[in-house]
Assembly symmetry: C2
Homo-oligomer: 331 residues x 2
């Protein structure tokens, strides 16, 4: 987790921008202009062995996501240490969507950002080993690593399978100087149904998962006292987050749920440690959808004018979030 | 679940072949011949915006998977009702891997097989809605569905998020005449660490999840008494599987862990209902890796000779599994 912690300290900003584009969050002229890809248009509309040939408005949407993401990245790259692309938003579009996801990660890394791939994968050991290639890349038949499509510094994982489902991810994180974040207490309203169940010993399921996560990370603790295995803890559970901070002293938190989902800076303040470290707070819609609340958008804008508004609004929202978090952490 | 049940009855065979290729499970000459794709070679090696251009042994591997899968599908399509491609094995290779996954699903459907995409996705509601496009396809800006890359009849999902993470998948299953399977009791050795935790009320976590799953499916029960929401229950837990069969009368089971993971036909027999319905049993390595145990393989074989051996061995293993299950269900 050292690289992430140092990136946060360099920007003095424990926030991460979620790159979760949807057709509703991207100005339509950006999609219609389809100027996201650097490649020639024939390449963008390549069949990929699938249904995208000919008239391809759906592929055009995800292609537009790339131009949108690049505008956001350029607007915030000097402010924030990290971005968190949500792979589901790209996966919805099939293979071409993954091209856009990977290109987004690659571009963000090239601009000096730490890329947290929000993929929430999890499976039995042999299958988890395949998912762990997100961090390590894939080998040729003679064992050389020669394919590295993903460009992620960290990924999120689901711990429901227990130790043997986690080990391949932990090994991959060590091998790649990367990190992973396991789901512990998610931000969504129904999350209590399983995560807050009371166990026979009196603790809750998420507390038991927290103890497992703290234990799994124990042999990868870095120079700031945090292991390569972080935990996802929703901003919507401030009291539980505060307790988990004490319960998991070597586990860094990824905190979703700030902003659009209702979490405030005061809610997340307790998830940091006494030196102001220990957590990074995500906002997705609050940053990338800020242009919609600006009152400045018009359908008559060109694609470039719309992207400029997206960038300007995202930057202002990222500054406001940074200052909001700084203030809450100082008080 | 009606379509799956009818496919099972038509073949009189409650088994599904897991298409989980790895470099170790595919004869090397099949990969080196790279004759899997129907498209011209330039198209196979397209850059996909990534690292695959030029010398691409890693992309060649996953391209070889397609020829391998097609040989397996052709060999078993008159015997088994369904195949279950494990997406992780393809995802390891990035975008081109998804091309191979989608082509595999498409080919299997074209041969009359029910395709169960083993994707184990799960997230908060807005993100789950994006993953649910696996079943429904994606819309153009004007709302028409015009992109349908995945070619899956059903998918597996992770229920850790609770109701609001499940609802988009349930809606998508209804909309697409498809099915979903939620993880309840997985087959791997460490699965007990979370799934078997004892709750304050005396039941286990997986039993509580089972009750949630049975409830979530209640409004999609089909003509055979099973809902569109099935459960993943490992063959490695025969007693728990038997109890879950009684506890979840309207929930169809996908049973992994037969064969290579140690589950036997006797172990899974209790997961069927009194009319011999209610479950489908998966074998992956036991079928697709059967050629390795045949004693007939030689490195001097041509790619076609190796594929013929793969097909012949897979067919024999699929027949043996079918007969093994039939016998256990009759006794």
């Amino acid at each position: 987790m050292d690289r992430l912690i140092e990136a946060i300290e360099q920007k003095d900003n424990p926030s991460v921008v979620g790159l979760d584009p949807t057709p509703a969050l991207v100005p339509p002229q950006v999609i219609l202009a389809q100027d996201g890809f650097a490649e020639p248009k024939e390449e963008q509309n390549g069949t990929h062995g699938m249904d995208w040939s000919g008239e391809t408005p759906a592929a055009q949407i995800v292609t537009g996501f790339y131009g949108f993401n690049r505008a956001i990245i350029d607007a915030v790259k000097d402010l924030v240490p990290a971005v968190k692309p949500q792979i589901a938003m790209y996966e919805a579009y099939g293979s071409v969507g993954f091209d856009v996801y990977c290109l987004t990660c690659q571009y963000a890394q090239s601009q000096g950002l730490y890329v947290l791939g929000d993929i929430k994968r999890g499976d039995i050991g042999s299958t988890a080993a395949a998912y762990a290639k997100h961090l390590t890349g894939v080998n040729s038949l003679d064992g050389d690593i020669n394919g590295h499509p993903w460009h992620e510094d960290a990924i999120t994982v689901n711990p429901y399978f227990g130790t043997d489902g986690m080990t391949p991810f932990l090994d991959a994180a060590k091998q790649s100087d990367g990190d992973i974040f396991a789901l512990v207490r998610t931000s969504n309203p129904s999350s209590a149904e399983i995560q807050e169940l009371e166990l026979a010993g009196g603790e809750r399921v998420y507390e038991h998962v927290a103890d497992l996560v703290e234990g799994w990370g124990a042999d990868s603790i870095g120079k700031y006292g945090y292991s390569r295995l972080g935990a996802v803890v929703g901003a919507t559970h401030p009291e539980q987050g505060r307790e988990l901070r004490a319960r998991m002293p070597h586990t860094f938190f990824l905190v979703p749920g700030y902003g659009a989902q209702g979490g405030t800076a005061a809610d997340v303040a307790g998830m940091f440690d006494s030196s102001g470290r220990g957590a990074i707070v995500n906002s997705s819609r609050g940053i990338i959808g800020a242009w919609k609340r600006s009152g400045e958008y018009s359908e008559s804008m060109t694609s470039q004018e719309a992207l400029d508004l997206v960038a300007r609004s995202a930057r202002a929202a990222a500054v406001a979030m940074r200052d909001d978090l700084r203030k809450a952490l100082q008080s």
